[in-house]
């Protein structure tokens, strides 16, 4: 459903990086998808496979790292894991919390990129974009 919109935004953001950073190719893109992001990793993967066709990311591998919800527990005074997205409470003492530290991510965090030393320019560069 909306994973296709998200996949499209991912393609757009990665394409922009290729241009901005003068990259030859992105071999692997690693993204973090938090439990509270509203996005299902498997659906995003399927959508990415569709959306990347015919783009500069058509051969890029997508690595998805799910992120568990972590909350700042007021009772424990520490950062703890929360039980589930539908029940945001500390796994140790059970107190509900809205101080979400991790779990909302929908971020690109790492790129494995290729630079061709024989051709330092980016063959994907479009002169009209510069």
């Amino acid at each position: 459903m909306h994973e296709l919109s998200i996949a499209q935004s991912l393609i757009d953001t990665l394409t922009e990086m290729i241009v901005r950073q003068n990259l030859t190719r992105i071999e692997t893109a690693t993204i973090e998808v938090g439990e509270l992001s509203g996005v299902v990793p498997s659906a995003l993967r399927s959508a990415f496979m569709i959306a990347r066709q015919g783009t500069e990311l058509s051969a890029t591998t997508l690595e998805i790292v799910p992120v568990t919800v972590e909350i700042d527990c007021a009772v424990c005074g520490k950062i703890r894991f929360a039980s589930a997205a539908s029940d945001v409470r500390c796994t140790i003492c059970g107190t509900p919390s809205m101080s979400v530290i991790r779990g909302r991510e929908l971020d690109i965090v790492r790129l494995k990129v290729c630079d061709d030393p024989k051709n330092p320019g980016n063959p994907h560069r479009h002169p009209e974009r510069e």
């Binding site: 459903m1 953001t13 509270l36 509900p96 929908l106 965090v109 790129l111 990129v113 030393p117």
Partner: protein, 236 residues
Amino acid sequence: MTPRILEIRTAILKENDLLARTLRARFDQAGVFVVSLVSSPGAGKTAFLQATLKRLMGEFSVAALVGDLATENDAKRLAESGAPVRQITTGTVCHLEASMVSEALVGWDLASLDFLFIENVGNLVCPSSYDLGEHLRLVLLSTTEGEDKPLKYPTIFNTADIAIITKSDLTAAVQFDREAALANIQRVRPGMTTLDSSARSAGGLDDWLAYLRARHSIHVPSAQHALGSSVASLMT
């Protein structure tokens, strides 16, 4: 070819986030308080918003944007209040994004408004990912939807600021367990403010309007009401 690793952190929805932030800054500068509404289809967003607009019209300068896949029906209904309303027709897109809001506002003088309401496409899933630049996000849950909804759709509740029960006048007829619904809301969004409402009953919006006025006066403390300008001057 030497592969290298780039460690970065960039939001996938960076473009939407940036545009939403720009919109929010514009709204702040113009002194307009922006409220968005999300719910499942049929929860009563339009009726709720229509009644809200009517109640505010005499005292404040208000306008609304409404998103639907197709038809202009909701915009027509909302316009019956007398407020300026624009329809955003998304085609196949199941949610509103900041770019759609930005485009829909072209030609409106935001400084002439006290309130701008944005009614999202009826959908409890996708809108949660997209910041529209609003100051307050309402999630509406009707008594006819059952008490489980918050547990089934945690993210939309988790990303909203206040939950409003709609169609409260039907509570007995559908045997809605209000306490269970409120408990479920607290499970997915501890500490969430909840209000009851009924767009079709006298006084059914009083709690909501009191809350809205309070939020507005905090946000725009020295507000001169923009009312006094006619609807025509909304257009730049």
